[in-house]
């Protein structure tokens, strides 16, 4: 009764406290979403591949850009013990000459499993010379049905669908079928080789033959009971095997970036916890006389502390709702290219941490509650 009445009796005070904590919560959530957005933007197309494990060419340091698997390699991987299914995934650098402004992108060729792409608009399965593009490409003026002109290789793709959360190194992923990817890959590789050989045309047929029916990496499903470590043992040393999540965090400076991102989130959480703890500590200090009187009337320390815990629970719950609303509103107002990826699991973890820190911070208040002498309710400085 007491805690509720106090909350209701001082709506403005506690409303402002809830708003302040809500802003802190939103700061924590926005930081988390931006951090996740960075990670997703850097690795989404790779890390979200539907597979138990990704198999790279050996000694390529899990770099999608370096790995090459031939059709023979794909066959070895598909036949490996413990593998139930596999499909090739190709990667190539591309530049798109769009209506608005040229932009860089990454072509991803899928041999199978287009059903893994969440469809935002259009269809999710491209045919030959068709592409399903990450929705962030819309920021560059790409619309459904547009023709993507790939420069300088002079290839064209028709956009038949948009997907989401599929970017790589902050550029939109362009999903095509594997034969289309092969053509793009050979064309871009030939372009590079031509540059290196002073404009002399390399052996196109020989190169196309090498790439035929191959890919950059293989995505595999494992039999129940088979682990990534088991497959690593089976395929070593010619191939490196990791989970998609591990692959996502490898290369391109990701380990350092993840460290920085986690540091940012940890610091924002710690600051939030301290601020929330201080808020409740100050409100307790302001009530010293009142608490002394209640204790003099016969209230136990436990009774007073329970009131505080109840208020913390109510206020942090309201503040969390405010924080989530602010974060969602902020997210809705951001362009899709903005690194902003709200992850419910991350938010849940942040919420748990905020509640835990608020309760932990309340221990400062508990200490002050314990040392409030009920005799001070009577004492006016005389003995």
């Amino acid at each position: 009764m007491l805690a509720v009445k106090e909350l209701l009796g001082s709506k403005l005070k506690f409303g402002l406290i809830a708003l302040a904590i809500g802003l802190i919560v939103s700061l924590t959530f926005i930081m988390a979403a931006m951090s996740e957005g960075l990670v997703t933007g850097m690795t989404g197309a790779k890390g979200l591949l539907a597979a138990d494990a990704l198999v790279f060419q050996g000694d390529t340091f899990l770099a999608l850009e370096r790995s090459r698997l031939s059709s023979e390699d794909l066959a070895v991987i598909a036949d490996a013990e413990g593998v139930t299914s596999s499909y090739g995934v190709g990667h190539a650098f591309i530049s798109v000459d769009s209506a608005d402004e040229p932009f860089d992108a990454r072509a991803f060729g899928l041999q199978d499993r287009f059903d893994q792409l969440p469809v935002v608009e259009g269809v999710g399965v491209p045919g030959p010379d068709e592409a399903v593009v990450d929705v962030t490409a819309k920021e560059s003026g790409i619309e459904l049905g547009d023709t993507l002109h790939l420069t300088p290789i002079d290839e064209e793709l028709t956009v038949v669908g948009f997907t989401e959360d599929r970017r790589y190194i902050m550029t939109p992923a362009v999903f095509v079928d594997l034969p289309t990817w092969e053509r793009i890959y050979v064309a871009t590789a030939l372009g590079r080789m031509a540059e290196q050989s002073g404009g002399q045309a390399p052996d196109v047929d020989r190169m196309a033959e090498q790439v035929a029916d191959g890919s950059s990496i293989a995505a595999v499903e494992l039999e129940p009971g088979t682990t990534v470590a088991d497959l690593t043992d089976t395929l070593a040393p010619d191939y490196d095997v990791v989970t998609p999540a591990e692959a996502a965090l490898a290369g391109n400076g990701m380990p350092v970036m993840i460290l920085a991102v986690n540091g940012i989130q940890a610091v924002s959480l710690v600051i939030s916890a301290l601020v929330i703890g201080v808020f409740f500590y100050i409100t307790t200090l302001h009530k010293t006389g009142q608490i002394a009187a209640i204790k003099a009337l016969g209230a136990s320390n436990g009774f007073v502390y329970r009131q505080l815990l109840f208020q913390i629970t109510v206020l942090v719950t309201i503040a969390s709702a405010i924080g989530i609303a602010i974060t969602l509103a902020a997210g809705a107002s951001m362009p899709p290219t903005m690194a902003f990826d709200p992850q419910p699991e991350r938010w849940a973890m942040a919420l748990v941490a905020i509640f835990a820190m608020a309760y932990l911070g309340s221990l400062f208040s508990l200490r002050s509650i314990l040392i409030i002498d009920p005799a001070t309710a009577l004492d006016r400085g005389e003995h």
């Binding site: 009142q290 009187a293 009337l297 016969g298 309710a377 006016r380």
Partner: protein, 224 residues
């Protein structure tokens, strides 16, 4: 039979040269149904004595018994439970909870015991009616006059039907007439309920209204 027995109670603070004696060998008894005024100037030890009787402070020496039960040997938790059950406290500053109405301030007492039933609501309503506050039940302390707050504080002290009421300077913030009314109110309720009351005051005129007077001077009982 004496309801309150104060025997050889002393209270000292600090040690060595910093040692301060707040109470020195105070002894008196108080029978059931009587109003005792503890009279003395500021700093004479009145509040210390009241705090010791309430079990809020431990005496350095001596014994306090209420209804034969020693108060001074209890832990703070036991003393708090004893206060909830047997003691009514009225603070000089009232200490009404500002966000609770007059009625809710009274219901705080059973709430501390973990129970607020219909009987408690009826009792709160009845007490506020007796104190002429029937129309002010839903008012918060900020909407009450000083005299009304004082009466709410006294009604709150009566909520648990205490054996003993401890009242700190009940007339400090009131003019003479209103102060006398409060003391009359206290006396009538004490007699009507077979209750005992210790009232601390520095006002000799109010002390005259009591059945028994104990004078404190520099922590000691003053003779006449």
């Amino acid at each position: 039979m004496s309801l309150l027995e104060v025997a050889g109670v002393s209270k000292t603070y600090g040690s060595g040269h910093a040692r301060v004696t707040a109470l020195d060998d105070v002894t008196f008894d108080l029978d059931t149904g009587r109003l005792l005024a503890v009279l003395g100037p500021s700093g004479s030890g009145k509040t210390t004595l009241l705090s010791i009787i309430a079990g809020l402070l431990e005496p350095s020496e001596g014994e306090i018994r209420i209804g034969g039960t020693p108060i001074h040997l209890r832990s703070s938790r036991e003393a708090a439970a004893f206060r909830r059950a047997h003691v009514g406290l009225v603070f000089q500053e009232y200490h009404l909870i500002p966000y609770l109405t007059a009625e809710e301030n009274l219901l705080l007492v059973p709430h501390l015991d973990g129970r607020v039933g219909r009987e408690d609501r009826e009792r709160a309503s009845s007490l506020l009616g007796e104190f002429g506050l029937a129309g002010r039940m839903r008012h918060k302390p900020s909407a009450l006059s000083g005299g009304e707050r004082q009466r709410v504080a006294i009604a709150r002290a009566l909520m648990n039907d205490p054996e003993i009421m401890l009242v700190d300077e009940p007339t400090a913030h009131l003019d003479t007439d209103r102060g006398r009314q409060v003391v009359d109110l206290l006396r009538s309720h004490i007699r009507g309920r077979d209750m005992t009351c210790v009232m601390v005051t520095h006002d000799a005129r109010m002390a005259k209204e009591a059945d028994q007077v104990v004078r404190l001077l520099d922590g000691r009982l003053a003779t006449a």
